[in-house]
Structures are given as structure tokens and as C-alpha cells.
């Protein structure tokens, strides 16, 4: 039985953690939240220097060729720090999409740039109000030209390229394809949009006959997206676990220090049991996330099920920890000055950006039915 990370992986985790504790304290999150930067460039540069974007990229494409486990430990630390950097967009989604569906040429072109930090990638799926489905994507791709409007796009401003879900004219689930588009061209307009988590900037991207190319087969978009989201769900789960743990300890530290009626509020069962519940949810999430990581690493048949379970548990743990962290802080926790808001905002952003728990629960049961039928 070896259901744990290796010593090397733990060392890497410690490195990323120390770097972020040092260079990305909460005042950096606040700087981005309150300011105009697209992301914390200083922190991002440091992470690039540490090799974080390169971890999961094969050596032949300029990466470090490490396993998903190394990306997972980095994700947990990014989540813990609520770091305002394009990790989820670029290191997770764009990198994994290229690895999953990119042609050799596409990989050769973009993966080394991602590894070296020269490029930032993102994905552009949603088109405003309605949750995206194969039948409601209005962005179109044909004859090498992309047209349409995507929003919200995480790191849309900072990104140099995007992977876009576009209608390519097929029917049913095959109506859509993934399309790779360089965002530095003139035919792409970027506009910042306001969201609930200003520490992670989002944009609206408008494509007007933008030059683009298929990523993966035509009509394969939805199938690829599902596979991609399974991998992303695991990495996101680690980030959520990191965030949940940070929020839990923040609440605990405050509960130890804050006095009411002559004793620390952390000595009252209402607070103790609330934080015990945080811990319970956190451990359920961590264990499910570990299994997701293991399945991702060995490309196991259980990946879809494990990814859904990790996603559900981690979303629940982060939601709960983030909101009860504010509650434990009382009035001060609801001020703009308080650091509690970072995790409250981030937890909801992360809960929504790959589809919410309700959709994942449905997926989980579908996969359980398939497994039982097999």
C-alpha cells in the first residue's frame, strides 16, 4: 500500500509552498484584487523559474516530463495561497488540452512556450448566461476563421492563445470542436469583465474572422472537453483542498486568539464542531483527490469516477471552509480589509468554472452506472 506522495514530490510541494508564503502573502492577492494587473506577474515569474508550468510537459517539448502527481502538489499550494496567477487556465487547462489533443506541430509550437513562461494559455468555453452545451455554442469556426464572442474567459487578457469551443456544423454532440487561436492578432478583441473574484481577472473575447486552427478532430470538441475536464477536475480538487485547508487554519487561528465572554471563541462547541466539520470535509476531499491523482497518473479506468468524486468533495470542502471562515471571524471577517474574502470568492469561482457540483453529481452516477454495468 503506497497511497501517498513520494518524498521527492513532498519536497517539491514544500518548495512551492515556501516560495508562495514568501512571495505571495495575502497582500499580493489584495494588490491584484484591488488593482489593475491582469495577474501577479512577479509571483508568476517566480513560479516559472521554479519550473511549475513545465512540470507536466514532456521533455521533448521543453518540459520537465514529470507525472500528474507533481502538478497536483503544485496545485495544492497555488490553491492554499489563493495565488493570483494563471495556473488553472494555463498550466492546467491549456497545457492539458494541448497534451491531449494537439498535433505534434501544435505541441512543438506551444508547449515549449508554456513551459518557459513565454506563453500563457487559456480556454474559452462559456458564452454568457446559459451553461455551455453542444447545442447552444454560437461561436463558429470554418475555413480557418473563428467568429463569435466568449465570456467569461479566465486570464483572457493575459493569455497569448486560447483554446475555444466552437460550432463546426456537425450534429448532436459532434456539433462542436476545439479550436486553437492566437490572441495576439488584431481580429481578437479583449475586454475586461467584472466578476465576483477580482483577484483572478476575466475577459470577454470577441473573434472577428480570427485566424485559428482545429485542436483535435472536427466534431470531437465535446468528447475532448469531457476528458479534459476530468483531468482538470483532479488538479482543481488539489487547489480547492489547499484553499480549504488555508481557510480552515485561518479560522482556527482566529478562534484561538479571539476572546468572547472571557475565553477564546475556539473553546465554544459551536466553533469547535464547525471547524471539526471543516476538517472532516477536508479529509474526505483529500482522500478522493489522491485517488483522482493516482488514476490520472496511471490513466486508470476509474479516472472519470474518481475525478467526479474528487471534484464534488473538494468543492464542498472549499465552499464550507471559506464561508465558515468568515462566520468564525464575525464582523471583522466581513470587512474589505479582511483576508477571509479571498477564499470566499475563489471557492465560488472554482466551484463554477468547470461546472458546479450538481452537474458533477449527475456525471458521477452515470459513471457509476456504467462501471456497474461493465
Amino acid at each position: 500500500m503506497n497511497f501517498d506522495f513520494s518524498d521527492d514530490q513532498k519536497l517539491l510541494k514544500e518548495q512551492v509552498r515556501k516560495f508562495l508564503a514568501d512571495k505571495c502573502p495575502t497582500k499580493v492577492v489584495r494588490r491584484v484584487l484591488d488593482g489593475n494587473e491582469t495577474h501577479a506577474e512577479d509571483v508568476w515569474k517566480g513560479l516559472v523559474d521554479l519550473g511549475v508550468p513545465a512540470l507536466g510537459i514532456p521533455e521533448e517539448y521543453g518540459g520537465m516530463g514529470l507525472s500528474p502527481l507533481e502538478v497536483c502538489v503544485a496545485a495544492e499550494e497555488i490553491g492554499r495561497a489563493a495565488a493570483p496567477v494563471p495556473f488553472d487556465s494555463s498550466v492546467v487547462l491549456a497545457t492539458e488540452a494541448l497534451k491531449l489533443a494537439g498535433s505534434d506541430a501544435q505541441k512543438k509550437k506551444w508547449l515549449p512556450e508554456l513551459a518557459s513562461g513565454k506563453a500563457i494559455g487559456t480556454m474559452a468555453i462559456a458564452e454568457g448566461a446559459q451553461p455551455p452545451k453542444p447545442r447552444n455554442i454560437r461561436t463558429t469556426f470554418g475555413g480557418g476563421r473563428l467568429n463569435g464572442r466568449k465570456l467569461p474567459v479566465t486570464d483572457g487578457e493575459a493569455a497569448t492563445f486560447a483554446i475555444v469551443l466552437a460550432n463546426t456544423g456537425g450534429s448532436g454532440d459532434r456539433a462542436v470542436s476545439l479550436v486553437l487561436v492566437d490572441l495576439t492578432q488584431k481580429a481578437v478583441a479583449k475586454k475586461r469583465i467584472e466578476t465576483i473574484d477580482p483577484a483572478r481577472k476575466h475577459a470577454e473575447l470577441t473573434f472577428s474572422d480570427a485566424s485559428a486552427e482545429l485542436l483535435g478532430g472536427e466534431g470531437e470538441g465535446w468528447r475532448l472537453l469531457e476528458r479534459l475536464y476530468d483531468a482538470a477536475a483532479v488538479y482543481f480538487a488539489f487547489a480547492q483542498v489547499g484553499g480549504a485547508e488555508a481557510a480552515m487554519w485561518m479560522a482556527r487561528d482566529y478562534a484561538l486568539q479571539r476572546q468572547a465572554f472571557g475565553r477564546a471563541i475556539g473553546s465554544y462547541q459551536a466553533i469547535k464542531h464547525k471547524l471539526a466539520d471543516c476538517y472532516v470535509k477536508l479529509e474526505l476531499a483529500r482522500s478522493n483527490a489522491y485517488y483522482g491523482a493516482m488514476m490520472l497518473t496511471e490513466d486508470g479506468a476509474d479516472l472519470p469516477l474518481a475525478a467526479a468524486a474528487a471534484r464534488i468533495a473538494a468543492t464542498d470542502a472549499y465552499d464550507f471552509a471559506a464561508k465558515e471562515n468568515i462566520q468564525t471571524h464575525g464582523g471583522i471577517g466581513f470587512t474589505w480589509e479582511a483576508d477571509t474574502q479571498f477564499h470566499y470568492r475563489r471557492s465560488r469561482l472554482m466551484a463554477l468554472s468547470l461546472g458546479g457540483p450538481m452537474a458533477w453529481k449527475d456525471k458521477l452516477v452515470t459513471r457509476l452506472e456504467q462501471k456497474n454495468a461493465a
Binding site: 465570456l151 467569461p152 476572546q259 464582523g331
Partner: protein, 407 residues
């Protein structure tokens, strides 16, 4: 059982409606309202005018004795007036603390001359009052305050800091609780005063909330001088005075209104397409709508039970203590769930129908679970006052305040 007015109530309601029709504009829909914003002097001016008109007509505080401008009426008439007023486009919310908490405390402790001087201007909206109780280290535990008042001849010198003071920057007067003796246990060393908020040494700073709003303030006192004649109650009996004030606060806490609720959630669910059709057809969505509907109705009907007691001239039961315990988490959870229905677009503040509204519930709910008594304190209150369970062990009961461990 019925929801009808008694003949007396019906007559009063008719009178009120006639007066309101003559003096204000009816709302075209019930979501419309003047928002009480701290930073809008124009709105305050309008509110003062409306308050004056109302007071002149005798509607400002119906339950107060006639000598103070009231009608000595039953609380149900006050409720009826408010129900009717809520249908008109008038600016409200600036005088609730002053008239609901501060002036009643004054009535209990101030001299007849002081009452003569202060009640009428407050009732007519000429002077606005605030309540200065909470401190950074004294939230749920109000008696833990540290703001000092030291005797200096016929005066007291105040030093310290208050927090969460609504409207401090536009208020004219305030009631303030201070520590006058740190050598006795904490409830014993408190004294209450009222003061002119324009006194030298009073500094007001707005607090920016997580929601972006700034409805509250910090108030700093640096050598603020208050004459002993502005003391309310005896020296060292400030806690008793504070309980008078807080008891009035509890009566005032109601449901937040105007936010999105079941109707909007259902509309959103009808308009949102999930993988297998409209979200409103999804049994998980339906189950949540049903739960929240049952809560919403339950609170509304619980309020009717309270009003029934008032209407019969009885003291309402403890049932209204459940309102905030239910309403605040519902607000937070429904907001979060509605955002989930929208998918990734649920994070966008603009361009998505209902998004901003439900985001406001999700953020505001987090604050509403804390303001005016946290979820935890309210459960304590229900357990102790309604169910008769023992209070928490008080380790600070007999210890001099200056010997207690500090946050």
C-alpha cells in the same frame, strides 16, 4: 383563522392609505425602493423631510405617549402603518436606530428637560441619532468594551474606539457605553452617556465591507469631553441601560427585503437549460426550491402569528426568534445555488440575468449571518430563553475587568 383586520385596524389602515396617497407616490412594483446609502446627502435630506411630514401627521411613532408626539397606540397600528408605507416610494431607514433604540433609552434615563430638548427633533428627523456600543474586541460579547470614561470635575473624558456604528458620519447625537471602572467585573464597571457627535475629538471613518458597501463606521474618541449631566443611569449601571437599548434592537430586527427570492429563482430555473432540459424540471432544483419556499412561507406565516398576538393585545411568543436563523443562511445558500445554475457565467457581475442580484445575496448572506447577532449567538438565545437550557459557563463573571485575558 383569517388574515383580516379588526374593524379598528381596518379603519386605521384606510386612514393611513388616504394620508399616504395624499403625501407620497405609490410604488409601481414591490422591488422598487430608495436605497439607504450612507454617501448620499440628497437622500438624507429627503428622508428628513419625509420624517418631519410623518411626525407632524402623528405617524412617526404611534406607540409613543402623546406627550412625545405619539398616539399611545397598540403596536399593531405601528405595524399597519409600516405595511402601508412600504408600498410608497419614500426614503426610510435613517431614523430606525435613533427612534427605535436611542430615544427609548433616553426616555428611561434622561431628565424631563433633556427629553423636552431631544425627543421632538429626533422624531421629526431634524436630528439623527446613532448607537455606539460594539468595539473591535467586543462583538457578540458587548460587555467586553474598553472605551474609557474618566471623571474630570463635572465632566467625563472619553477615549477609545467603537465599531459597526451605522450612520455615525451623518448623525447628530449618539448614545455610548463606556468603561468607568476597570477594577470590578466587566458588567459592573460600565456607564452610559449620550453625546453630541460634533464634539471635539470624535472622528468617524467608514468601514468598507466585503460587499463593497460602507454602511457602517468606526468611531474614534480622543479626549472627548462629556458633561456628567449627559450620563444615562447611574455610574456603574451602564449594562442595565444597555440591555434596555438592546431589547429594543431585538424587536426591530426583521427580514431583509427587496432581495431576490423564490420567484426569481424559479424564473432563472425556467430559463436555464441544463443538459437534460430546463433546470426547473430537474428534481434536485425542485427540491431546493421547495425547501426554500417552505422556509420563506414559514417565516412569513410566523410573522403573521406574531402580528395576531399584537392585534389581540397579547405579548407575542418567542417564535419570531427563528427569523434570522433561517433567513440568513437561506440568503447565502440560495445565492450560491442560483449562481451555480448559471455555470461559469454565474461569476459575471453584468450581462447575465439575475447574476448581480444573486451574487449580492451570496455575499450579503455572509454578512447577515453575523450582523445583529451571529447564527451561533441566536441559537444560544433560543436555547436559553425559549427552551430554558443553561447559559454558557462564564469564566469572566467575578474577575475584575483589568485582570481578564485580552484578545
Amino acid at each position: 383563522m383569517d388574515f383580516n383586520d379588526t374593524p379598528e385596524e381596518a379603519a386605521f389602515r384606510k386612514e393611513v392609505r388616504t394620508w399616504l396617497d395624499a403625501n407620497a407616490t405609490r410604488k409601481s412594483d414591490d422591488k422598487q425602493s430608495f436605497r439607504a446609502r450612507n454617501d448620499d446627502p440628497e437622500l438624507l435630506k429627503k428622508a428628513k423631510e419625509w420624517q418631519d411630514k410623518k411626525a407632524t401627521a402623528g405617524y412617526a411613532r404611534l406607540t409613543w405617549p402623546k406627550e412625545f408626539g405619539g398616539r399611545g397606540a397598540s403596536p399593531i397600528l405601528q405595524v399597519i402603518y409600516q405595511q402601508e408605507e412600504a408600498n410608497y416610494l419614500v426614503p426610510l431607514g435613517f431614523f430606525d436606530i435613533g427612534l427605535g433604540m436611542c430615544i427609548p433609552t433616553m426616555m428611561a434615563y434622561a431628565t424631563p428637560e433633556q427629553l423636552k430638548r431631544y425627543v421632538k427633533p429626533a422624531l421629526h428627523g431634524k436630528e439623527v441619532w446613532c448607537q455606539l456600543f460594539s468595539e473591535p474586541a467586543a462583538g457578540s460579547d458587548v460587555a467586553g468594551i474598553r472605551t474609557k470614561a474618566e471623571r474630570d470635575g463635572d465632566d467625563w473624558i472619553i477615549n477609545g474606539q467603537k465599531v459597526w456604528t451605522s450612520g455615525a458620519h451623518y448623525c447628530d447625537f449618539g448614545i455610548v457605553i463606556t468603561r468607568t471602572d476597570p477594577n470590578v467585573p466587566k458588567h459592573a464597571g460600565l456607564t452610559m452617556f449620550f453625546l453630541d457627535m460634533k464634539s471635539p475629538g470624535v472622528e468617524v471613518r467608514p468601514i468598507k465591507q466585503m460587499s463593497g458597501g460602507a454602511n457602517f463606521n468606526e468611531v474614534f474618541f480622543t479626549d472627548v469631553r462629556i458633561p456628567d449631566s449627559q450620563r444615562l443611569g447611574k455610574v456603574g449601571e451602564g449594562w442595565k441601560a444597555a440591555l434596555t437599548t438592546l431589547m429594543n434592537e431585538r424587536l426591530a430586527v426583521g427580514l431583509p427585503s427587496g432581495g431576490l427570492d423564490i420567484d426569481e429563482l424559479m424564473e432563472l430555473a425556467r430559463e436555464t437549460e441544463l443538459d437534460d432540459g430546463a433546470a426547473i424540471r430537474n428534481q434536485q432544483v425542485r427540491s431546493k426550491i421547495a425547501d426554500w419556499y417552505v422556509q420563506q412561507q414559514g417565516l412569513k406565516l410566523t410573522r403573521y402569528r406574531t402580528l395576531t398576538a399584537l392585534s389581540k393585545g397579547q405579548t407575542p411568543g418567542p417564535e419570531s426568534s427563528i427569523i434570522k436563523i433561517v433567513a440568513a443562511p437561506k440568503m447565502q445558500d440560495m445565492g450560491a445555488f442560483a449562481m451555480e445554475l448559471m455555470g461559469h457565467a454565474g461569476i459575471m457581475k453584468e450581462d447575465v440575468p439575475f447574476a448581480a442580484g444573486f451574487q449580492a445575496q451570496w455575499i450579503g448572506g455572509a454578512g447577515f449571518r453575523i450582523a445583529g447577532g451571529t447564527d451561533e449567538i441566536l441559537r444560544n438565545i433560543v436555547a436559553e430563553r425559549v427552551l430554558g437550557l443553561p447559559a454558557d459557563i462564564r469564566v469572566d463573571k467575578d474577575i475584575p475587568f483589568n485582570k481578564l485575558t485580552r484578545s
